[in-house]
């Protein structure tokens, strides 16, 4: 079976459209974050989260009414897990003082307010209380981990390939992070530790995808010396298209399984992975490869003074159809 046999799509023709689309999404994301803000999870923002299991069913409104008097409007209440478990997750911004053992006083006050409201018996299933100092430290650590991992990848690809390839891969990865952030903002997901873990995983996945295509470009560079880099890249993308679709497909299936069956805690994580896998695949073709083509220009990769040595490399036959010259490319 072969889903894509001997395809000849001119992917690079669409690079400007793709860049415009990406810019639009990122701009919309930045706008959403600037106006509505991105919701930070309790690990980053600090605050108190309790998960209570009630003996009898209670509505979100009842819980809210019970708590509003002492905790104000800024309470987030949601059902947690399977509805039959009657679990409610309550989050408030307050924490007990960060001194001594009093961090948990807000959680106790929450329970006291719930008891007063006569909602029946309940048991605490979990708490998460984070003081403001932790969030600040996590934010710096998260940013430095992302930057360092991008720098590491840049260095490795420059070492194994060339600087132009490394730049393409890293810009594509940054693009993926921005687009994923934008989608997190559109759908109102909290920025939690799990989401950050997923974001860092995406940097790995996106680079992985990019390297596979670049590796093919590198191989083709040896065999197609008369062609422009644009042609070579197009051929490489077409050659690996089947693999790209299948791999992204299976990874996407796994991430979707997590999204639908992985339970409440992994929801944000799985959503981030789903978005990241899609944008990671897209950016490899339209961002990473496009950057290499801009960087290297449209001239033949090597002056065609002698015949290409296809036989000696033993590469599979290159597509015979003549590629159109890349007139549209406004390469620098």
């Amino acid at each position: 079976m072969h889903i894509f046999k001997d395809t000849h799509f001119d992917f690079l023709r669409w690079r400007w459209h793709a860049i415009a689309l990406s810019a639009l999404i990122v701009a919309a994301g930045v706008f959403t974050i600037a106006t509505r803000g991105i919701q930070k999870g309790v690990e980053f923002a600090g605050g108190t989260v309790v998960i209570e299991q009630f003996d009898q069913a209670v509505s979100i409104q009842q819980v809210r009414a019970a708590l509003e008097k002492s905790f104000g409007q800024d309470i987030s209440i949601q059902e947690f897990g399977d509805p039959s478990q009657r679990q409610v997750m309550i989050r408030v911004a307050q924490v007990g003082a960060e001194s001594g053992a009093s961090l948990g006083t807000t959680a106790d006050a929450l329970e006291a307010a719930l008891k007063q409201a006569n909602l029946g018996n309940f048991r605490r299933q979990g708490t998460e209380i984070v003081g403001p100092a932790v969030g600040r430290e996590l934010t710096t650590k998260g940013i430095s981990a992302t930057v360092l991992s991008l720098a590491g990848i840049l260095a490795y690809i420059s070492f194994r390939f060339q600087l132009s390839f490394a730049t393409g891969a890293v810009v594509a990865t940054m693009h993926d992070l921005l687009v994923t952030f934008a989608f997190l903002a559109f759908f109102g997901y909290d920025l939690t530790l799990n989401v950050i873990a997923a974001l860092l995983t995406i940097t790995g996945f996106s680079t992985n995808d990019t390297i596979v295509i670049f590796d093919r470009v590198r191989e083709n560079l040896r065999g197609m010396r008369r062609d422009s880099i644009g042609t070579i890249i197009n051929v490489a993308i077409n050659q690996t298209l089947g693999r790209t679709i299948i791999t992204s497909g299976t990874a996407l299936l796994s991430a979707l399984a997590l999204f639908f069956f992985g339970g409440e805690v992994l929801h944000g994580f799985a959503f981030t992975m789903v978005v990241g896998i899609i944008t990671g695949t897209y950016s490899t073709v339209f961002i990473a490869a496009a950057i290499v083509s801009f960087w290297r220009g449209s001239a033949p990769t090597r002056a065609a003074s002698h015949a290409p040595a296809t036989a000696s490399t033993g590469a599979p036959p290159q597509p015979q159809r003549k590629q159109k010259p890349q007139r549209k490319a406004r390469a620098s």
Binding site: I51, D82, Q125, A197
Partner: protein, 532 residues
Amino acid sequence: MSNLRWKVLTVLGVFVVFAGLGVYPILAARYHIPAPGWLMDKQLKLGLDLKGGVHLVLRVQTDDALRLETDTEMERLRSELETRKIPVTNVVAVNVTQFRVEGVQPGQDAAFRQAATEVQVNFDRSSGTNGTYTFTLKPNIQVNLRDESVVQARQTIERRVNELGVTEPSITQQGSGGDQILVQLPGVTDVERAKQIMGSPGLLELKIVEQGPSPTKEALTTGGQVPQGMEVVPGAPGVPGEPAGTVYYLVKRVAAVTGRDLRNARASLDENNQPAVSFTLHNEGGARFGKVTAENIGRQLAIVLDGRVQSAPRIESRISTDGRITGSFTSEEVQNLSLILRSGALPATLTYLEERTIGPSLGADSIRSGVLASFVGLLFVVLFMLVYYKLSGVNAVVALVFNLVILLGLMAYIGAVMTLPGIAGFVLTMGMGVDSNVLIFERIKEELEAQRGVRAAINAGFARVFWTLVDTHTAALISAAFLFQFGTGPIRGFAVTLFVGLVSNLFTSTFVSKTLFELALARKHQVATLSI
């Protein structure tokens, strides 16, 4: 042929070892199959988010350790000056690392410097006008003291947690300043007791009472000044036999004995059958205590715990090694107090930065959904590979199973912890793990189309893709390593799963898969087609 035999043996050997390490203990525990104890000890452990328990992050207030050092040296210099009869107007602490001596008379300069030589081991001296000297704790000593106080705090917490009888606790230092301690107590649900026991300073001091008890602080001072070498300490509320309300005692600043001189402490009853803590001093402390009590018969001895006088009994006779702390304690408080005293005082106060509890049922829910998601994900991937690659798909599925077995085994072997994000890492490893197989198979297809023979196509497919795989895996390992660096608890579990998954995947896709192909083709002489 013999080459292939060795490859098959290697593959089988690896499988048996990792299946034994990773999978067998899980099955043994679940279905009560006998297994050796050392193997069960190696079993893959569940993280706190799956098992339930308490997760606390504490910060050690290392300033306390500096303040203690500064205070102690200041007192030592003060008494040194007294014995040498060098008059000064004031000795006062400036901040946690500095103190100042004021009003040294010009003629006494040399004598003062002589007296201060011992202090200067850890302090830098600078002189000001009018016979003022400022002593500053040396920077390297400051660093050492801070580090030591964190290490001591961690050790003290470890002792206390061990006394609590928690199984498999984890107590580690973390944080950018190195002053945070992460405490994980699996299976513990009573957070309040755990927090109280870990966070109590547990500083016991026995001091001679100069004056008191008195209902006000002012009555104990002369013109608002506490006499030199003395301090005012409040009493604990509700001490029997004392007047109601808070009372104050004027006590000697230097303690006769402290908690450091304790050999043991245990819960007991006092003469009125009230809960109390009996303690025994070790020999050196006992000798010192005997001398002090013999000199002060008829006076009161204040038992000060964490800056509060618990009781102040009259000294009837010389006491050497055994004593008792009485006060208004419940029997539970007495249990906790003796535990705290046995494990020693904290060198500095602790503040809580983060507190997380996971009820056991919450953890069980997470496991259920995580495992369900893994199976669904696995099913999707397996079905796809079988439909798309037919018989070669079987090869990929076998490689996938291998991958999972090695992953479980390696994680058990290195003592990694399985967390909920770790389960997610499992699912993703499966999804991405087949990438290598897909890459190889697609390449083999290309080579087949180039009219090569089946064997040559397989060899070329593996050979050409090998370096691509090395590159992709290295790049992914780089980001997994930084993820590990960044994360705490569950995220680290995820990073470890990802890391180990990448390593095992590289092995299965390049070696196991290839061997399987070779094995399948070994008996046939002429192979015309490949089911791919």
